[in-house]
């Protein structure tokens, strides 16, 4: 890696992805999607501020990326079908 300030890139930049960085560990409540009630409107996907609602193919039910979801609950709040409930994570 770097030895001194002279070796740093000209600006703070990295090619490392955040994909494998588990930033969802501070979650207190987890969104759980009931696929029976879900009507695939994708409001949850649209509103998620953290790209943590995943739709693999158009027409699929959305699912939650629990590695990155912080549990903010916006998806549950926006879900018109009442298909998302926030469940307490175990302590």
């Amino acid at each position: 890696m770097y030895e001194t300030y002279r070796d740093l890139p000209p600006i703070q930049v990295t090619t490392q992805s955040t994909e494998d960085m588990p930033t969802g560990t501070w979650r207190t409540f987890r969104p759980v999607i009931d696929e029976e009630k879900c009507n695939n409107c994708y409001f949850c996907w649209k509103f998620c501020p953290d790209l943590s609602i995943v739709v693999r193919e158009e027409g699929d039910h959305p699912s939650v990326d629990y590695v990155h979801c912080k549990g903010c609950g916006i998806c549950a709040n926006e879900c018109r079908a009442g298909a998302i409930v926030m469940e307490r994570e175990p302590l």
Partner: protein
Amino acid sequence: MIHAITANHAAALAAKLARVEVAAVYPITPQTTISEKLADMVSNGEMDARFLLMESEHSAMSALIGASYVGARTFTATSSHGLALMHEVLMWASGVRRPIVMPVAARTIGGPWNIWGEHMDVITERDVGWMQFYCENNQEVLDTVLMAYKVAEDPSVMLPAMVVVDGFILTHTVDAVDVPDQSLVDKYLPKFAPDPVLDMDDPRRFGGLVMPDWWTEFRYRIATDMEGAKERIREADREFGRLFGRSYGGLVEEYRTGDADAVLVVAGSAAGTAKEVADRLREEGLRVGVARIRVFRPFPSEEIARLSSKKVVGVFDRSFTFGDGGAMFNEVRSAMHGSDNIMKNYVGGLGGRDVTAAHMEWIFRNMIDIGESGLDRKIEWVGLRDGSGRW
């Protein structure tokens, strides 16, 4: 070609000549006519740029940081409360090394309300990692915007720059401005080509978390690059002179200081009045001169230190740092540490009050007086209605 235009008009033309690609603005007096002129030029096809009307100055600066990452040359303008609202994003812009150029129509900050000119807004932002250029007249505003891009985008600098334009005194006053040909400007200012650049095909993370183990080193890089910018500014000024036939003396313009006993340090439009009055007093035999601070950040400590040999050095501040004195005064005094000359702070031109020739004459005569009889007081509020009848 000579145009009769305001400094705001000149600033907008400079953005066009610099081939700015993204301008994000939010209106505020007395900057608004810069944004309006830009909007005109973009909508009528004179200027090939994206014009973004944002919901606040905070958002305008944020938008430019993103646009600059993509490799666009970026521009905005603001003033007063708008600049204050940008405060945290100003530090983001310098911290992530985006060479954004921004004219600031210098104005008071309330309360109570006052929309007129002084330097309080820009002086307050002296510590955020932006270069600060102070202009004396409309021509210098146009020229300095071009120079600011030249310096800011230099790979050894990569820091943003404010171009300070005295509110109303310059922003809304028409003066003759030589608007250079596009081909000449293109020769002076190559296309902005930052490396690395934000590229969807080569994804990277920009501005992510820097831990305590490297934060100090990133700060040190900004500090040394800001210091190095001094020489880049001197070079940019000389090259500008060669191409356009105008240059401004680098960081500090010295006017009749050679044999002067008393020198007034001043920034912005008041310097024009100071020079005029210095000429008149010279005819009387008073040896006075003017050192105009063009660049306050990086601070021209070497140039200022050279004034230590003068018997009296006065510093005119168009703002006041409550609790101590004028910020320019304190920094000039600090650069002269160890010299035994007499130094005095003159504060004036606040909240749109004119700095008149009579004020400047009083200041020069006062400097000559204290050179003979010693310092009367550290700080003088010039033009203060104190019932003394001095001005």
